[in-house]
């Protein structure tokens, strides 16, 4: 199994990992994840009175011998998890070296691989100012190639409208699960309503914000005409040391604002620079944050 996104050695390392969700979801197929449903799992949950038609195999005969009444043992059903990979493919994701989109598709592919390998359902969708063509949640290792092809085909185009696309996805998605949003979150219109929509839906949300080093420490000074890569707007200004200091201060404020928002909404948030090796992000930082086991 070969991919342009990462090599076989790394894929073997990924096979040892599992994605974790904080919430407990109702799955579609049987797996080893605890769900809200009572069913045929291994974990004891409760007793209830026997009713006609119940499976005799779950009658607790010890209780019957003591009480002379029929009680049924109830177990928690163990089902699979649906993982939604939402990848930002707006124009701003082509900034950086390597471009943020390259980094984002490798992260998404790795997480998808972990999910499919763990017999979870994995779906993916790219977004910019609109939702892209989605890849519906699929289960089984055989879907890995399709997932990889999906991410390899992603191209940067359009602007960013996080509020709209995330709200739309929350509305359109028929089942909840773990929603992993991989984006630079650089949207002048904000991101809060979109993330709120996912949270208020049935999603456990993990936001991975990708930033390039040039976005934190701009490598330019002097008289400049700045062009917004996603629009035709431009800004004329003279960048000096004072302005750069002020810009860095604004960036820090913006990141702090995102962190505060996510903490309040119980949204997992991870900010990663593209200078951090991709393998380290997956194998160290995500595990350290208990997003992977």
């Amino acid at each position: 199994m070969q991919s342009t996104l990462f090599d076989a050695e790394f894929m073997r390392k990924l096979e040892t990992l599992r994605l974790l969700a904080r919430k407990v979801f109702r799955g579609q197929g049987q797996n080893d994840r605890t769900t809200l449903r009572r069913g045929m799992g291994l974990e004891f949950s409760d007793y209830r009175r026997y009713h006609a038609g119940d499976d005799f195999r779950y009658i607790d005969w010890n209780v019957y011998s003591r009480l002379d009444r029929l009680f049924l043992k109830i177990f928690t059903a163990e089902e699979d998890l649906t993982i939604h990979l939402l990848v930002d493919a707006s124009q701003s994701m082509q900034v950086g070296s390597p471009p943020k989109l390259d980094y984002a598709r490798r992260v998404a592919a790795a997480l998808g691989y972990i999910g499919l390998n763990g017999l979870d359902r994995v779906g993916a969708v790219s977004f910019a100012d609109e939702l892209g063509r989605p890849m519906p949640p699929q289960r089984g290792r055989q879907q890995i190639f399709a997932l990889f092809r999906y991410f390899e085909a992603l191209q940067c185009q359009g602007g960013t409208d996080l509020n709209r696309v995330l709200s739309n996805y929350a509305r359109q998605s028929s089942r909840g699960g773990l929603a992993i949003v991989i984006s630079d979150l650089l949207d002048a219109n904000g991101y809060t309503r979109g993330l709120d929509a996912l949270t208020y839906g049935r999603f456990d949300v993990l936001v991975i914000q990708l930033v390039d080093e040039t976005e934190i420490n701009p490598p330019f000074e002097g008289a400049l005409r700045l062009h917004d890569i996603e629009s035709t707007t431009q800004c004329r200004l003279t960048v000096n040391r004072r302005m750069l200091d002020l810009y860095r201060q604004k960036v820090v404020e913006y990141f702090t604002q995102i962190e505060t928002f996510c903490a309040k909404r119980n949204i997992e948030y991870l900010r990663a620079s593209t200078t951090v090796p991709f393998e380290d992000l997956i194998l160290r930082y995500l595990r350290r944050g208990f997003y992977l086991r």
Partner: protein, 617 residues
């Protein structure tokens, strides 16, 4: 406002050039960024509104355009024209007397006067001239009539107040002599009004304008001080100090007299009512040397008169040789003078004269023919020298005194009215000699005054006149001793009021003298004559004049009650012009050049341009 050089506006053509250069040079670099909203918030915070942002972005260009405009305006030489009522030349009399050092809440009175003088200069109409006279001890013309305001401004700013009493009367007379009664000229007096005797002047009031500076009214000062040796006691001195309160409140004044190294000699405490003067007379015992300082320990508005100085004269001995007939009156008089030692000899040979001259400061020949006299100090009584300039041509009986030169040092305070002389030699002084007392048919008192030779001839016998019985005799002899031997009491110390000249007599011929002023600064002077006149005793304190190892103290004091009275409320002369006096005046125009301010503005703009350039790059 008037533009004196409107052709300079052609330089405004540089504005399009600046715009063109800016358009060619100032290209912004294009940079693509992920998002602009962070940069926009940075801009908002850094520069506020959008208008301000644009202004800041275009600030270098705006500053360059402003620089061109300001420089063009400066080259066009704009002048601000204002109309003033007076259109006259001005003779400005600035009071630089000691009382102008009085401290006021706004600085000294003199600083205020300088400011008023600058205002007068500022309002001098275009084309009009101004002269500046300072009214110190002697009026001094600082600048004659000039229309150059920069020159006049410098002159005003360089004038300093003196420690000397002022003489406003002479200064005003000098200023009025400049105007010559012209109606287009005006005398402006700036001072504190304490001018002393001005009331006797018949001033043409239409030409005078008085600007009074005021402030400071508390003063207690030393108005008199004297120190003299007590003749009867070897190491005793009498000191007199007069302290007066010129303030409106009673004061408690500590007075202290100290010698060198601040050694206290006398301490008193005086209670003085307003206007009261208290005199301290005391005896100081013990050896004194150098100078003595009297000081009143009070903080007032005029500290210059809080100190006064006196010098202790070193006692000297003067040897006089009396040759010829014995004279009771002369001998008695000479021996009664302090420090005077008299030798008597019947005759003197020509060979022994040089040795005798070294031993005696004065040789008196009484009725005997002296040998040829070429140098030294001599008094010849009833005889004439072997000199063609003063030859006896017989005798005259009962000559009458016709006149005498009262201003000559020999005859100061000498009254020869009704002098009776039985017989006198007939002497007619030739060129090189001078008659000081003219009698009928003869010169009764003649002198030869040369650098090496001081010779006085009294052409009659003292015993055959009533001169020894008159008051004029000791006065004349004392004047004679001072004249022929001035070092006697002047060698060790001198006293002058600030601003006065002082004559220094040297024992030996000297070419250079070093003078140490009260601040301790030393200055070399070339001495061209003996006696030498030192004219720079302008500051109160002790000057030390050194010639070789000899040291001469010159004590300079203010000691002037008029100057110390710094509250001249009732002394200000009224110079209010009478209506209708002088020629009718037309309004004048004052032109104030503005190019300097514009140049200053251009420099500021240039600095702003440099700042923005450094800030951006």
């Amino acid at each position: 406002m008037t533009w004196l050089n409107p052709a300079a506006f052609a330089f405004l053509a540089l504005i399009p050039v600046v715009l063109l250069l800016h358009a060619l040079r100032y290209r912004r670099r294009d940079v693509r960024v992920s998002t602009l909203f962070l940069w926009e918030s940075v801009l908002r915070e850094a520069h506020g509104s959008l208008g301000l942002q644009r202004l800041v972005q275009n600030l270098p260009l705006l500053l360059q355009l402003l620089l061109v405009c300001v420089l063009t305006a400066a080259l066009a030489n704009p002048v601000l024209t204002t109309t003033v009522a007076e259109n006259k030349d001005i003779v400005l009399v600035l009071d630089v007397s000691a009382s102008m050092q009085t401290r006021t809440p706004q600085g000294t009175r003199f600083a205020q006067a300088q400011q008023r003088a600058l205002e007068v200069l500022q309002n001098l109409p275009s084309g009009r001239q101004m002269a500046l006279i300072t009214a110190g001890r002697q009026p001094q013309v600082v600048t004659f009539f000039s229309a150059e305001k920069a020159l006049l401004r410098d002159a005003i700013l360089h004038v300093q107040p003196t420690d000397a009493p002022g003489n406003m009367r002479d200064a005003v007379l000098l200023a009025l002599s400049f105007t010559q009664g012209s109606g287009t000229q005006e005398v402006v007096i700036i001072g504190d009004g304490a001018y002393g005797s001005m009331g006797d002047l018949d001033l043409q009031r239409g030409q005078l304008r008085h600007i009074q500076v005021a402030g400071g009214d508390k003063n207690v000062g030393i108005t008199r001080m004297a120190l003299r040796k007590v003749l009867e006691a070897p190491e005793a001195y009498e000191i007199l100090i007069a302290v007066k309160n010129f303030s409106a409140q009673p004061v408690d004044v500590p007075v202290q007299v100290t010698a060198v190294l601040r050694k206290p000699l006398l301490e008193r405490r005086l209670q003085l009512q307003p206007g009261q003067e208290e005199v301290i007379v005391s005896t100081l015992t013990g050896p004194l040397k150098g100078t003595v300082q009297a000081e009143i320990g009070i903080e007032d508005d005029f500290p210059l008169d809080n100190r006064a100085y006196a010098a202790v004269a070193t006692p000297t001995q003067t040897w006089v040789l009396l040759v010829g007939e014995s004279n009771y009156f002369l001998e008695t008089l000479l021996t009664s003078l302090p420090g005077m030692l008299v030798n008597v000899a019947p005759q003197v040979a020509e060979e022994t004269l040089p040795r005798l001259l070294e031993a005696n400061q004065l040789i008196i020949f009484n009725g005997v023919q002296p040998p040829p006299l070429r140098r030294g100090n001599f008094l010849l009584i009833n005889t004439t020298p072997q000199d063609t300039r003063l030859q006896s041509q017989g005798t005259v009986t009962q000559p009458q005194v016709l006149d005498w030169q009262r201003q000559h040092p020999l005859l100061q305070f000498v009254d020869l009215t009704d002098l009776h002389i039985e017989e006198a030699l007939v002497v007619h002084p030739q060129a090189g000699a001078q008659s000081l007392v003219d009698g009928t048919g003869t010169a009764l008192l003649s002198v030869i005054d040369e650098p090496q030779l001081h010779l006085v001839t009294l052409g009659f016998d003292l015993m055959r006149s009533d001169l020894p019985l008159r008051v004029a005799f000791p006065v004349l002899m004392n004047n004679l001793l001072r004249w022929v031997n001035p070092q006697q009491d002047e060698m060790s110390a001198g006293y002058v009021q600030a601003g006065m000249s002082h004559t220094v007599f040297f024992d030996k011929p000297v070419t250079h003298a070093t003078v140490q002023d009260p601040q301790g600064k030393q200055r070399e002077y070339t001495v061209s004559s003996n006696p030498w006149v030192f004219t720079e005793a302008q500051r109160v304190g002790v000057y030390i004049i050194r010639t070789g190892e000899a040291k001469h103290y010159l004590v300079v004091n203010l000691l002037d009650e008029t100057e110390s009275d710094i509250n001249p409320a009732n002394k200000v002369p009224s110079f209010t012009p009478h209506p209708g006096v002088g020629a009718p005046q037309h309004a004048g125009v004052v032109e104030t050049p503005l190019w300097l301010y514009l140049l200053l503005g251009a420099v500021i703009v240039l600095l702003g341009e440099c700042y923005t350039w450094c800030r951006d790059f």
